[in-house]
């Protein structure tokens, strides 16, 4: 049994471990980080028991390192993730994510009459509040809040 558990959480030599992803947001995190387009080895786990979250997801990305600003893009859907940077099987750095002040492309504007929903215009928002999250469209100036937030694409 113990061996089996180790298989699921098998260590990586160098790379990034993203833990405490809300299980239901795992695929959005994959999408936002563009992980469906890379060729590195990635191990996912999902619907794992968690003390903090109902069910959590985890991913281990071998040989992948993110810039903080790219990691911050997942903060909209997974604000409480723990990110560990691994070098030679050791955790050398721990990171958290923070919603950036300017959010580009990943969220759809809630306003159907907004230019971003009418023509091919990339969305752009400014952060208004963090808890709960609300963002203001740079174009139509309408507020999109956590309840109405829809993630549209990978960057």
């Amino acid at each position: 049994m113990k061996d089996r558990k180790q298989l699921v959480v098998s260590a990586i030599k160098d790379g990034t471990v993203i833990d405490h992803i809300p299980a239901k947001e795992l695929f959005r995190v994959i999408d936002i980080l563009g992980l469906d387009h890379i060729e590195n080895q990635i191990t996912f786990g999902t619907n794992l028991d968690s003390e903090k979250l109902e069910k959590k997801g985890i991913m281990k990305l071998s040989g992948v390192f993110f810039k903080q600003e790219d990691l911050d893009r997942i903060a909209l859907v997974a604000p409480d993730v723990k990110v560990n940077i691994i070098r030679d099987y050791e955790v050398v750095e721990k990171k958290v994510v923070e919603i950036p002040e300017r959010i580009e492309r990943i969220v759809k504007c809630v306003n159907p009459m907004c230019i971003t929903n009418q023509e091919e215009v990339r969305t752009k928002f400014d952060l208004v509040t963090r808890h709960p999250v609300s963002i203001k469209c740079y174009y139509c100036e309408k507020i999109t809040d956590a309840n109405s937030m829809e993630i549209i694409s990978s960057g």
Partner: protein, 303 residues
Amino acid sequence: MVGKSLVSIDDYSKEDYLKILELSAKYEKNPKQNILQGYVIATLFFEPSTRTRLSFESAVNQLGGRIIGFSDSGTTSASKGETLSDAIRIVSNYSDLIVMRHPVEGSARWASEMATVPIINAGDGANQHPTQTLLDMYSIKKTQGTLEGLEIFMVGDLKYGRTVHSLLMAMSKFKTTFHFISPDELKMPDEYKQHLDALGLKYHEHKDFTDIIAEADILYMTRVQKERFSDPIEYERVKNVYILKNEMLENTKKNLKVLHPLPRVNEITVDVDENKKAYYFTQARNGVYARQAIITSILGLNK
């Protein structure tokens, strides 16, 4: 301001507002000059708005500038499916400044990113119409002598009315006390009240305004439109509550002025027009001077 687009009333600071109002007064004294000679101003009205377009065009013509443009996108390539960004890039080649009105919200900000000349937003859907706000402020300043510490009563559709939202944002920089008079369905949205709370400004909400306008310096009327109501019975019930009649002005302050962004339908009865406190037609004329001030400021023509 020079060379910069005016898309939203928040694009300008309090100092910018005051500068524009000062210049508006200058243009009111001397509205016919040749300061725009040799300049081409495009007026692109992707949706019709005759009043606003004529005001801009009069402002430009009186200063000797030339106008190109259209008054309805039905006659343009927009009706053939051309994107807004293509249209704006092309017209940028032909003009020194673009005045645009478009039904889509955020279209003016997007256009300002695409254009190589400044954009003045003359209305983007329900979002912004900043030159209206500046002419409202000019009207307030001119009639009250100051913008500071006034009692402004806003009546009618306070939920969807972009003019009242922009005016609130702008006047909140001048220690204004606000009174909101509207039916429940059309109340001032919370985000604006929170903005006032954050600044420590006072506001009061009412459902009726017959007995409370004695304190008012400015009565800003807007139209209550039937299509804004989810319940037509509710509309029928409240539609006459938000109509200003001449006798209601009897015990009001001497300096009170009644403003309205126009067009008016029936929310101000015609007998008010003769009252000295009715100011909406002069307000519309002020729009020409305010727009002259804005256009020449953006083009950097005011010494």
